[in-house]
Amino acid sequence: MTQLTATKIKMRDKTLGLKRNSLMLKTASIRLLRPMVMTIAAIIMLTLPARALVEIDINKGNIEPLPIAITDFISGDGIGAKISQVVEADLRRSGLFAPIDKAAFIEKVSNPDAAPRFEDWKVINAQALVTGRVTDEGGRLKAEFRLWDTFVGEQMAGEQFFTTGENWRRVAHIIADAIYERLTGEKGYFDSRVVFVSESGPKTNRVKKLAIMDQDGANVRNLTNGGDLVLTPRFSPSRQEITYMDFAGGQPKVYLLQLETGQRELVGDFPGMTFSPRFSPDGSKVIMSLQQEDGNANIYSMDLGSRNTTRLTNSPSIDTSPSYSPDGSQIVFESDRGGRQQLYVMGAGGGGGATRISFGNGSYSTPVWSPRGDLIAFTKQSGGQFSIGVMRPDGSGERILTTGFHNEGPTWAPNGRVLMFFRQGSGSAGPQLYSIDLTGRNEQKIETPNYGSDPAWSPLLD
């Protein structure tokens, strides 16, 4: 009953040579295992009470993490256990899963192609089970996993991946994403990276380097050497490229940096300081602030193909931190045109009026539109405290997720469910990176070798 079917899906990763196949058990009930859409989950539960698959509804305010058993993937040299550990850490950090201590496991899985003894897993309350195997196939790493619903006694997902040995962490993140997606009905975010500013040295003369890491803090690599002050890196949605601000030669300007070649390129030929850059959702433009001769700042966009620049705001105020809606039709930004900094939304062509959307007590800054389009994250300054919050694009439904001495600069995970930001404590210590989910639960520190600030999340890798 448990043989592998033929390859169903083939995906190739251009940069990593990753091949991906789906694994299935030949059973009659495969059709029932399609991912359920959250809104109709209740109906399915009613009509199929005996076959209700384990699911997590992440739209609920208070989530009970799902107990899941993640076995060490079988392998000859311990790589299987390492991959399992990364999968387990990803799922645990999401706050939606409660991986069960391996010491409690009863069955020792020796053949990942065979169905497990579901009773052994039900008795330790594992609602889902992950098994797998890692082998060397002619010098390439082959990783397979299966996700089981222990109470229904079914396989929910199964895939195999071929890649080079050095990509083992990426394979683990891709497996964690597949499990997350299958159990929540939402895209995952584990196979992604974060670009940030790595800070060291005294506060009065901080050395700042651009750095990149996996979203879990692994594989940190510096992109600049600290010779120039660098700030606010942001990922391109479509290329291995970031845009950021660099004080090279004492002239603070917006640049592009190619991640693969390390090549740096100035964005535009503007007379004053350019800052606060961000890509358009299709990656074709960079939007940023330009300091005006009178000291104010207005918003401009530059088409990276034609190099044409467009002025989008024209006000005697500080207009900055622009961020496009995911469909590219609107821009949210901060402005002090009404006195204190507030959030405004305008059409992507600029020119016309902008609508103020923030009306709470305090000032609002660093707005970032969610990749799902439903929310805008921001920094709020009120009563001497700095908070991270979200509101709908029309300004309604403001929610504060975390408050303290200084929290700043949110960035969205590619699935729009988790935010990363930086926190500066009081005292001389530098800032650190944190993540928190949309409900305000599950705040996690991201360990980095040095101080960290200005995080920006990449899209899901492909």
Binding site: K203, A248, Q251, Q291, D294, N296, I318, Q341, T366, G409
Partner: protein, 176 residues
Amino acid sequence: MRLTQTQQFSTSSAVRTMALVLMTTLALAGCAKKNTLPNNAGDLGLGANGGAQPGTTQDFTVNVGDRIFFDTDSSSIRGDAQQTLARQAQWLGRYPNYQITVEGHADERGTREYNLALGARRAAATRDYLVSQGVARNRIKTLSFGKERPVAVCDDISCWSQNRRAVTNLGGPSGT
């Protein structure tokens, strides 16, 4: 004539290098190069103040005051700052060969992008005041560091008020 910022920037590194060379020469030789700086420093009555050679960076910093401070979230030139800038303008009138860079800074109690803009606004307001006091606009560059280069490090108002500043640097920017 009014220079655009592009033009000012295009000459900046050359100007800075020249100024640094000059200052180094002054420090080593203890005398001014002809036609570059006045050779009548003694006549100006500044020679005894703090031991600074008249017309030097030290003279400017110690005897004139190289920085002014701002209120929270403001780029208005305060009364005390107006006096400092008037002295700066007078000194710059006396030593017309100096180019200057006005660096604007913000305290850390703001977000990064806004503080960059606020520092730029403070630098521009300082430049405009110096121009109103007779300093040629084409001698002045502006630069903002936002909250990136505090001089005082603590978590209360005594430090934040020192960090909300505009610093007039002779020759070129001091940072980065």
